[in-house]
């Protein structure tokens, strides 16, 4: 048996022994997801137990180094672990922007102290993070950012406003882009971390077309941020942000379709068999969907071996999010009048319609499709012009 197969057997055994039965049933909604953090209320004893056991084993962040709360697994082992979890239907023990976004950025740009401190907190589910990038009127145009941190010697005093801050009203800390030099448009931004309980931080949820949302407006009024809470160099926060946005785009491009290649057509056969033109749209969609899955697989394989163009994730983000929007248009068409319902129990609170509307943001958040096409055109295709 290869080392990897040995690991697989061990992981399997550990999961079978440690994952509570309830945590092997699918999460029914956002309320079943464990986000951790200071104010998190566990939905059940099993949820708490599962987090604690994973935490002890380093399995909340299996591929992070042990020193920072991980299990130190290799990429291959991590993949095997995920496969075994999927087979048993294990829920994710901990979801977190800290795991998906801040952690990788800290690993690359953080000091040793920051890694031990912040990554440890993330791995243990102690601190829930949110991301402060977009501002009203800036959107995809990060360089026109206004939020300003005035240098006061050992700290900055931050004033300004962020928008589209996911879960800002539930998060404990924020990683935030703040202008620290007004004279340099492109390089005058720093990447700061601070506590959302710092005096002067307030949040206001944003209602979206799909209904209530995780997004907030976040306001900073003379917020004091100690100097050691910067990641990376002063005025070079854009490098950290770009790196992190790459991760976000990968995550979002993964949304292209529920992570799977299973056609939604089969379950809808009764409708599609009577609607030949709609069935044809579904058929052409399935071709695109299978293509995107293969494309994503190829991209990940090339990325891992360093062969992918650094800007390639922009292409995947564009293709994946446009595809997901198309999928949801089809889901609405196939669902017909029933999919239009907005509140009824029958429609699970209008879940089809709300999901459909929610996907419209996919091609806006994390960089619009238009910005992605600009980047692909300029950086990969090397088209001329500004």
């Amino acid at each position: 048996m290869s080392d990897l197969e040995t690991f697989r057997a061990e992981a399997r055994a550990w999961l079978e022994e440690n994952c509570p039965a309830e945590m092997r049933t699918p999460a029914k909604g956002d309320e079943d997801v464990c986000w951790g953090g200071r104010n998190f209320v566990f939905q059940s004893e099993s949820q708490k137990l599962w987090l604690e056991r994973c935490m002890a084993k380093g399995y909340t962040v299996p591929d992070w180094p042990k020193a920072y709360g991980g299990a130190g697994l290799s990429p291959q082992e991590t993949k095997v672990l995920r496969q075994e979890m999927a087979k048993l239907g294990c829920r994710s023990p901990l979801n977190s922007f800290g795991i998906w976004m801040l952690g990788p950025a800290l690993l690359k740009f953080g000091t040793e102290e920051q890694k031990v401190h912040y990554m440890g907190q993330i791995a243990r589910g102690e601190i829930r993070w949110c991301q402060g990038y977009s501002e009203p009127g800036s959107g995809s145009d990060l360089v026109s950012m206004q939020t300003f941190g005035e240098d006061k010697g050992d700290h900055w005093v931050v004033n300004g406003q962020k928008i589209w801050t996911s879960y800002a009203d539930k998060a404990d800390w924020i990683f935030c882009l703040v202008r620290t030099d007004k004279t340099n448009k492109y390089q005058g931004i720093s990447f700061l971390l601070f506590d959302m309980e710092t005096p002067g931080v307030t949040t206001k949820p944003i209602k979206l077309i799909s209904g209530n949302s995780p997004f907030c407006e976040t306001f900073f009024d003379n917020v004091v941020v100690p100097k050691h809470q910067i990641v990376g160099e002063l005025n070079r926060g854009w490098d950290v942000a770009k790196y992190l946005l790459g991760h976000e785009r990968e995550m979002i491009s993964g949304m292209g379709g529920d992570g799977g290649v299973t056609s939604i057509g089969a379950a809808m056969k009764a409708v599609l068999s009577e609607e030949p033109v709609l069935r044809a749209q579904m058929a052409l969609f399935d071709v695109e969907n299978l293509t995107f899955r293969a494309h994503g697989e190829r991209f990940m394989d090339e990325w891992k071996t360093g062969k992918a163009h650094p800007a390639y994730s922009n292409l995947m983000k564009y293709v994946g999010t446009e595809l997901n929007k198309k999928r949801n248009e089809l889901v609405m068409s196939i669902g017909g009048t029933q999919a239009l319902e907005w509140e009824s129990e029958r429609s699970n609170g209008g879940s089809k319609a709300r999901n459909w509307l929610r996907t419209k943001a996919n091609s806006i958040e994390g960089g619009t499709s238009e910005v992605m096409l600009n980047v692909v055109s300029k950086r990969i295709l090397e088209m001329p012009g500004a």
């Binding site: 977009s134 009127g137 800036s138 959107g139 995809s140 145009d141 026109s144 928008i163 589209w164 944003i206 209602k207 979206l208 077309i209 409708v271 009577e274 609607e275 030949p276 033109v277 709609l278 749209q281 929007k325 248009e329 609405m332 068409s333 669902g335 017909g336 009048t337 029933q338 999919a339 239009l340 319902e341 907005w342 509140e343 009824s344 029958r346 429609s347 209008g350 319609a353 459909w356 509307l357 419209k360 943001a361 091609s363 806006i364 958040e365 619009t368 499709s369 238009e370 096409l373």
Partner: protein
């Protein structure tokens, strides 16, 4: 006829435009939405529609209406669409009136006055599944006493729970899938055995799930001929379809205009975003799609008004094209607005929701494209 509006039609458009913009703009819609109104529209506004003469626009002059055609109804509907004005106009004054025009005098006398007065609302109870399949109607009306007893269920009856009467299509002969053997009935909302459960839709309209459990009606509840309901149904549906298409021209145009205004004012990367050529080309393309939709809808309306043999083909094409173009307009609208377009606070998302409802109403673009193919002989 010429494919331009004549002077009378232009006057009607101006007055409908002024009326909707002042009496039923998007803020009016928001108000009724946010109060969780159980009807989804304002009875007061419906009365005002009557005062303007809109409610009887298709009712013959001899019976107190304006005696106009689909073009004129469409002019009103376009302004309704542009302002998202909530009302029972499309179902009651367009679809139901077209059916009732084929009913006997007694029935017309019973229902037209209330419609003219803006007091009566009528629901169209056709759909039985999630997609529009009128020929598949399975709801049964069996002979019983002096009349019929109806048993079955209906879906997506827009404003059904607010209706005074439902027009119900049921099968008096034949089997699901056949067009012969259908009969249309006018059924009072209080009829014994009739029950409704209202559900709010994505566009905040209310639609009812209707149960008919042995609903007894007299023979005089029949609209048109027994077993010959397909003719009445087709007329009613085509009026509803071309009307929905006209409303979508309004919704799409409203969304498009709002978006073009946004492109001219919103700045990013130090430039007004309307300067970006990629957006300009998409805007110009969208404009062409909406202009095409406007044209085919006008063509279908005028063929219906002429009683032309090709009207059915053009109505199907118009419903399909208006659906595709309006859908493009709202998708481009939300995308070009960026993050702000995703917020409930901005209007563009409301247009996207309304488009969805109208696209489904009486058959979506794919259904009607399929009918175009069938009518074109393949």
């Amino acid at each position: 006829m010429a494919m331009t509006l004549n002077d009378d039609q232009n006057m009607l458009r101006d007055s409908a435009r002024d009326f909707m913009a002042s009496e039923a703009p998007v803020t009016h819609f928001r108000k009724f939405r946010d109060m969780g109104c159980k009807d989804g529209f304002s009875h007061g506004l419906w009365k005002q529609f009557a005062e303007m003469g809109f409610t009887g626009i298709l009712i013959p002059e001899a019976e107190g209406g304006m005696g106009m055609g689909q073009i004129e109804a469409g002019i009103v509907l376009e302004e309704i669409g542009r302002n998202l004005s909530p009302s029972p106009f499309l179902t009651t004054s367009v679809a139901a009136v077209e059916a009732l025009k084929l009913a006997d005098k007694a029935m017309r006398d019973r229902w037209f006055p209330g419609i003219l007065a803006g007091e009566t609302v009528i629901g169209i109870a056709i759909e039985e599944g999630v997609k529009h399949r009128p020929e598949k109607i399975a709801c049964v009306a069996e002979r019983s006493g002096n009349g019929f007893k109806l048993t079955g269920q209906k879906q997506f009856v827009v404003q059904g729970a607010s209706s005074d009467m439902l027009i119900v299509a049921a099968r008096t002969a034949g089997a699901a899938g056949e067009t012969d053997g259908l009969t249309l009935f006018a059924i009072d909302k209080d009829a014994a055995g009739l029950s409704m459960e209202a559900a709010r839709l994505v566009d905040s309209a209310m639609a009812a799930h209707v149960k008919l459990e042995g609903v007894q009606v007299d023979a005089d509840a029949v609209i048109g001929e027994v077993d010959g309901g397909w003719a009445v149904l087709s007329k009613m549906l085509d009026a509803g379809r071309v009307g929905a298409a006209a409303e979508m021209v309004g919704v799409g145009t409203g969304a498009m205009d709002m978006t073009f205004d946004y492109l001219k004012t919103r700045k990013q990367f130090d430039r007004v975003i309307g300067e970006f050529q990629a957006l300009q080309h998409r805007a110009a393309h969208l404009y062409g799609e909406m202009e095409g939709a406007r044209s085919i809808v006008l063509k279908a309306q005028s063929l219906m008004d002429e009683g032309h043999a090709k009207a059915e083909l053009y109505v199907a094409a118009a419903k399909a094209k208006a659906g595709l173009a309006c859908n493009l307009a709202v998708r481009e609208g939300v995308q070009m607005h960026g993050g702000i377009g995703m917020t409930d606070e901005y209007d563009i998302g409301l247009y996207m929701k309304r488009d969805r409802g109208l696209n489904e109403f009486f058959g979506d673009a794919y259904y009607h494209a399929d009918r175009v193919a069938t009518m074109n002989g393949y």
